[in-house]
Symmetry: C2
Subunit: 553 residues, 2 copies
């Protein structure tokens, strides 16, 4: 079912499943899924159930609320349908999907939910959730992304995670982890909750910490409005600022390339490799933050981030056979650093803050992409500050030592910036350099003293910033052999290896969602008890009971 | 291949694969695998490769060193074979094993390795590893359990994790996690290490933090001896104390029961359930620590722990269809508390310390057992202190309120003891009660004020110690329905659910091994690229290259 290209670009005018209503500093994000508008044929999105297409719109809405609506301090997630909040991921869609599609769908859903929490935590745009009707499975998983959950006490509205009893899978897009880590539900009550089809309603939902308050129907509208207002008033977003417009990302897709303005992706199918080249800024930094805002979405850091974000999502869903991503850059490292400094200097400005957090999220998207990542640091590149993170996000970074014969561009260099020491924490809460140097904290200290220095291959290698260096004599052969070898390995084992090696150090709710919960769900997503012909995902709704292999493993 | 009963009971006289040599305060644990003595037919354990049988002996040796040899302060792990340290888990065995056997084999291996680290950390019996020859895959995973790794610098001895390139699986019994979390190897170097068949040797192994020192052949024997002596001298174990003997555990196995002295397991195959009943102490606590030691392995806490440990391992490997474990106790709660108090009072005595840590490890073994666990707290039971942990380790605990008609035993009670507030941390570093009350720390404080109080069903329920209470009218039906419902669910989804809900709160190297790494390995252990007819695990050694599906998921 993955024949057509899945396009992550959309805009409110094209939404089929969501509506946004504005009421001054409060926005209402209404789920109103068009059952007939599934991303693929073969299923109907009844009862506000969702597929990847619904989530693509949600992701777009969350992004636009941040960039286009500085005046919004609180967002209320709710359903536009009368008797249902959201029935979760569509089961027929899951039953028909390939393993790879299910996994990537869940990953994107997780990222989108984390972006909602990121808005609440970092952007002064706090999400509330008003649950009227059933919030089941993915519906409740969506609700728990909100900082405050209101449940109507109408004797029928409930929250539930019925995946296990109904479908023999987990509430695997963050649900289990948020129940334990965010809501801190007592483990035995969580066990009851996750094995009870009908879920929990009324006061018990508050007692069990599943929602924050229940509200009688008579007070519902008023209470939801007043809570939203209350949260919006705590926001530090500028009420009278004007947002910028996120225009449709322009790109040109051919068999061998995806070309954006600042990002170029070369597809080498026989090598199972995609090379992503990012062009550094060609314009000097704007004279003022107002001038930067006037550039809107053409301001380089934002434009580049949007293109990179789209490129990664495109590769994940549409090019599953390209198991290796090679990052390259072209341009002037000092110019990249100038943009970093500009963003840092104006970090208190709402738009610059949004851009910094978006860069952070985009780099995190790289971190959790299940492809081998190699960064190639060559003459003419600009691995400085923000772009140097691509070297530290990679499984390996190799650096060209000296010059290529006949190439008069500057030798390869890494320039560290302040941004490498705090602006872009990974999911584990540490910077990529902190994670890298967990075993040698003294190197981290030393690296920080080198901010602004142009580090050539030898210096970068001595500082532990790159995996290996090769000169002109060896570069082509060594890189070719490394990439060929990587491409020869089992993609599954690489996925497991990379998921483990990339996130050393502390765990957070976020790393747990991707590291522990995802892995268990992936395991279950292959088991015949779930996905076999007689398994629960396949038989759901057929009137036939699933047949289980009763052996524990 | 799992037809015969796997017996975890062994003793040095019966070892086929290990030798222990003693040199005063230093013991040498020599791996000398008998290739012809595999646990199952169909493979040869060449090159010190191992199967579950080899690990069962290792586990036994580690236990005996702690209990039988108080004089030993340092243990040197080494190979008795000339050119190989250990080639890791036997690949033909893995290729022929069922998914369930592979997973349970890896789990036990992980537990055994953690027990080695537990000895180093808590028991004053520090493990060193002396690597001469190849330490490949599971061989290196075993080496990194040691606190200090010595590698001979003979130009051929090396450490490696070749699982990924050779077998398309992960170094999944703790290897990856110890490389990042314990050895803190830089992530890109770890990536190179884990994808390089031939591994790393000599000084580079030290530079990459893979071993602690390399030693020239001329100094090898002397240096290994002096390092071991040095570590043993730091030990706080009593050099002139006498150990106790761990006698063979007596048990009687029938179709419907496994009966030990203090532990009785009833097997109800049609219900897919095993009921484990633990009898509290019948003798008063010994008059002195010397009297306790004189009891040897018949001292109740130790005897009970050994039987429970054996029962759980037996159920895991030999009764995979029994998906539900119900814990019961019988006896006098105050008597259990008296033993707890005795152990705590003499916690500085080497043997009492060992017993406390063994109880801790046994409870951890319950935590990571992939079976649903329900604790039934009934009249006549003794859920006090150490045994109350079985209520907090359970997915659910239900408690009988009041008396059964015609039963004049004491009503069900929970008695908290000091042991519930620190003696038995889970893998996450928190006690079970701390983990339980993450969302309501005030309840934890309140619970501690109730130490020693006899809490009836209502009081225990009010304190959040149990999931539900039922009186004589409802007990039989409610418990039956709960257990029947549990047994109706997909075992795989329950495994995933329980692995996620049981370990809220902080992550440690240990929770990561079981939670993240195991899940990824389990996933890979099902993928055709590893275990399919053309997969790497099946084709290894056949001369045929594996065939991979190149799609990333």
């Amino acid at each position: 079912m993955n024949q057509k290209i899945i396009d992550f670009r959309t805009e409110p005018g094209a939404y089929r499943h969501w509506k946004i209503e504005f009421d001054g500093p409060v926005a209402h994000l209404l789920m109103d899924v068009d059952a007939s508008a599934g991303l693929f044929p073969g299923y109907e999105l009844k009862l506000n159930s969702y597929d990847l297409g619904v989530d693509i719109e949600l992701y777009d809405a969350v992004q636009r609320l941040r960039f286009e609506h500085p005046e919004v301090g609180a967002v209320v997630l709710r359903s536009a349908k009368e008797n249902v909040f959201c029935a979760g991921a569509n089961i027929r869609m899951l039953g028909k999907s390939s393993h790879g599609h299910k996994v990537n769908f869940c990953k994107f859903t997780n990222e989108t939910r984390l972006s909602i929490e990121d808005a609440s935590e970092h952007s002064g745009q706090v999400y509330l959730c008003a649950v009227r009707g059933t919030a089941a499975g993915g519906g409740y998983e969506l609700a728990v992304t909100a900082e405050h959950i209101m449940l109507i006490d109408d004797r029928k509205s409930s929250v539930s995670l019925p995946e296990l009893p109904l479908l023999a899978v987990l509430p695997g897009t963050g649900g289990l982890t948020r129940v334990t880590d965010k809501r801190k539900v007592r483990r035995d009550l969580a066990d009851v909750f996750c094995t009870t089809e009908e879920g929990v309603r009324g006061k018990r939902a508050v007692q069990w910490r599943l929602v924050d308050e229940v509200i009688p129907p008579s007070a519902w509208n008023e209470k939801v409005a007043s809570r939203a207002k209350e949260f919006s008033e705590k926001s530090d977003r500028p009420r009278d600022a004007k947002g910028i417009v996120l225009h449709r990302i322009e790109r040109d897709i051919t068999d061998t390339a995806v070309v954006y303005k600042h990002v170029r992706v070369e597809l080498e199918k026989e090598k199972r490799q995609a090379t992503i080249t990012i062009a550094g800024p060609t314009e000097p930094v704007p004279a003022s933050v107002e001038a930067a805002q006037a550039l809107g979405d053409s301001f380089w850091p934002l434009a580049m981030a949007r293109e990179l974000d789209d490129a990664i999502l495109h590769l994940r869903l549409n090019e599953p056979e390209l198991g290796l991503l090679a990052f390259r850059t072209e341009g002037d490292g000092k110019a990249v650093l100038a943009y970093d400094d500009f963003l840092a200097a104006h970090g208190a400005h709402w738009l610059m803050r949004e851009i910094l957090h978006y860069l952070k999220r985009t780099l995190k998207r790289v971190d959790v992409t299940s492809r081998s990542i190699v960064t190639l640091i060559e003459p003419g590149s600009c691995f400085a500050g923000t772009l140097a993170e691509l070297a530290f996000a990679a499984d390996r970074a190799v650096m060209f030592s000296g010059n290529r014969a006949g190439d008069n561009r500057a030798p390869a260099a890494i320039i560290l910036g302040a941004a490498n020491f705090g602006a872009y924490p990974m999911g584990n809460g540490l910077t990529r350099l902190q994670t890298r140097f967990l075993g040698e904290p003294e190197t981290l200290v030393k690296a920080e003293t080198q901010i602004g220095a142009t580090l050539d291959a030898e210096a970068a290698n001595d500082l532990g910033l790159v995996t290996a260096t090769f000169d002109d004599t060896d570069w082509n052969d060594e890189v070719r052999i490394m990439l060929e070898e990587r491409a020869s390995f089992s993609p599954d084992s690489l996925t497991g290896l990379e998921a483990n090696l990339r996130f050393a150090g502390p765990e957070t709710m976020e790393t747990r969602i991707f590291g522990r919960l995802t892995a268990w769900q992936n395991w279950i997503f292959q088991r015949p008890n779930a996905v076999g012909e007689d398994g629960a995902l396949k038989r759901y709704g057929s009137g036939q009971q699933p047949v289980y292999d009763r052996n524990r493993v």
